[in-house]
């Protein structure tokens, strides 16, 4: 087999997939502001993505915050810099770990479920049935999920940030002997508005990615149960990678200037 032909085919298929994704996202977003709106579906999705993800995201944040505090204490104590611990914990959680871990956990929970549900609807002709009932499947299925993702994930991340900081606070005060009042004082002093804003922007972008990957892969699945399984895996993997990549881009855009200046 001609190796150039293989490279050409791979490149062409990759570009076609990206093209399909961009068109899908563009069309779906354009439908967000055009009626009819399916509020019932939106509320159901917000409940699924937001409320039912709370335990998973909360536990992730609590354990990570606690472990982080432990490690930072060990590291900073070598330089007699234990007093900076609260500041480092809150910045690390709010800027990076809260949104990224929250996004990843929700991607694992929600992208897969969306891809499986929409994929099953595709292979059992339920999406065709929507079409024959004069209902646009994009509007009915995809738009509510995208909107719910963008709206709900920031709310989840606020909770994750608070619980994450609380995890660090627990370790610091219960195990490492920090004074609770001064720990919280340092936390509040070092947290800036830009940190919170970037955290929420990241969360909204990740929410969009989570829902988009779930919907896109589900919508384009084919080939029965195996196809739905493939769509589910692809949705989670691509959501993970896109979240980590988008996180890097946003971090460089928001904080890169600070680092240079």
């Amino acid at each position: 087999m001609n190796p150039l032909a293989v490279i050409g085919r791979i490149t062409r298929n990759a570009l076609a997939a990206i093209g399909r994704l961009v068109v899908f996202a563009g069309v779906a977003v354009s439908h967000v502001v055009r009626p009819p709106f399916y509020l019932r579906n939106l509320l159901r999705q917000m409940l699924t993505i937001g409320y039912f993800s709370l335990p998973v995201v909360g536990m992730t944040a609590l354990f990570t915050g606690a472990a982080l505090a432990e490690q930072i204490y060990v590291g900073s104590s070598r330089f007699n810099a234990e007093s900076t611990m609260a500041a480092v914990v809150v910045i690390a959680i709010v800027r990076e770990l809260g949104p990224v871990l929250g996004g990843l956990m929700v991607a694992g929970r929600v992208s897969s479920a969306m891809a499986a549900e929409i994929g099953t609807m595709r292979v059992t002709e339920q999406i065709d049935a929507l079409f024959t009932l004069s209902t646009d499947p994009l509007k009915y299925l995809v738009v509510p999920r995208l909107v719910a993702g963008v709206v709900t994930l920031p709310l989840l991340v606020i909770v994750a940030n608070i619980i994450g900081v609380f995890g660090g606070f627990l370790v610091a005060t219960q195990q490492l002997g920090f004074n609770p009042g001064s720990y919280l004082q340092v936390t509040v002093d070092y947290l800036e508005v830009s940190d919170v804003v970037s955290s929420l922007v990241k969360a909204a972008v990740f929410g969009f990615i989570v829902a988009l990957m779930g919907c896109f892969h589900g919508y384009h699945s084919s080939g029965g149960a195996q196809g739905v399984g493939r769509a589910t895996t692809n949705a989670v993997v691509s959501a993970f990678i896109l979240i980590l990549f988008a996180n890097l881009v946003i971090t460089v855009l928001v904080f890169g200037v600070d680092a240079v200046g």
């Binding site: 399916y38 549900e117 609807m121 002709e125 065709d128 049935a129 024959t132 009932l133 004069s134 646009d136």
Partner: protein, 264 residues
């Protein structure tokens, strides 16, 4: 009705030179077909001969590469989404696996078009759904079940109730009896005939079940290798003189039709 009579009546659905291919595989190779208003056409043919593709091209789920589809005189292959929705509001469709929405209870499935399309209040839509369920022989106790709780035959009935819920002028049936026992298949056939007569609807049914075809059809058309190779009134199907039709209706393994092994 005879051939002259058929030609004289205005066509509710007409296809002219419809071609559709997937990759290199040409599935429909120029289909010409007309269904008169109020007529029931059954398209027969083996698995993988393009029956479902034909139906999807008429519905607008697939866009043919060439050819035209006229519904009540209006060309529909290049419609805007909005105009397509208007056409769809006149059409009902029963899918092979019923394609009920898993996330909605039975009555919301039946009333889907009324609630989402016509913005009817839910209470009133529910009353109509229960009435439509009664028409297909299902009691009100089924209304609050979810599709996963239903048997195959009940799903088909609910699918039929959904297809006729908004009193469509055109109804499509995709393999209405596949996967059902003979008695349930007979029940579904009777329901289809009864409801279509009540609505006065124009219908296209695709099937490979000859019992069902004979019960439902006014006319039969046979699809083979992307072409309509025979069509005529249902009572002529037994002496068509066409070797393909003969082989198909008698289910003979030997004959001009060779079974395709690969899916299209």
């Amino acid at each position: 009705m005879n051939a002259q009579e058929h030609a004289a009546r205005p066509a509710m659905i007409r296809l002219a030179g419809v071609r559709k291919r997937f990759g290199r595989k040409q599935v429909l190779e120029g289909i010409d077909l007309a269904v008169a208003r109020g007529e029931s056409l059954v398209v027969i043919g083996g698995s993988g001969t393009g029956k479902s593709v034909l139906l999807k091209c008429i519905l607008g789920l697939l866009i043919p590469e060439a050819g035209q589809v006229f519904i009540d005189g209006q060309e529909t292959t290049r419609l805007s989404p909005r105009a397509r929705r208007v056409v769809m509001s006149r059409i009902g469709m029963l899918f092979q696996g019923a394609a009920l929405f898993d996330s909605l209870p039975v009555w919301e499935n039946v009333a889907f078009r009324l609630i989402e399309g016509e913005r009817m209040p839910r209470r009133k839509a529910r009353e109509i759904a229960i009435e439509k369920l009664a028409r297909v022989g299902l009691g009100g106790d089924v209304a609050d079940l979810y599709p996963a709780e239903l048997s195959g035959g009940m799903k088909k009935r609910v699918g039929l109730a959904r297809a006729i819920a908004a009193d469509p002028e055109i109804v499509f049936f995709d393999e209405p009896t596949t996967g059902l026992d003979p008695i349930m298949a007979g029940v579904i056939n009777e329901l289809i005939v009864e409801q279509v007569e009540r609505l006065g609807a124009t219908t296209i049914t695709i099937t490979h079940d000859m019992t069902s075809a004979r019960r439902i059809a006014d006319r039969i058309a046979m699809l083979h290798q992307g072409k309509i190779i025979w069509q005529g009134p249902v009572d002529e199907v037994d002496h068509s003189g066409n070797p393909y039709v003969e082989q198909f209706i008698h289910g003979r393994p030997e004959g001009p039709i060779r079974m395709a092994v690969r899916a299209p």
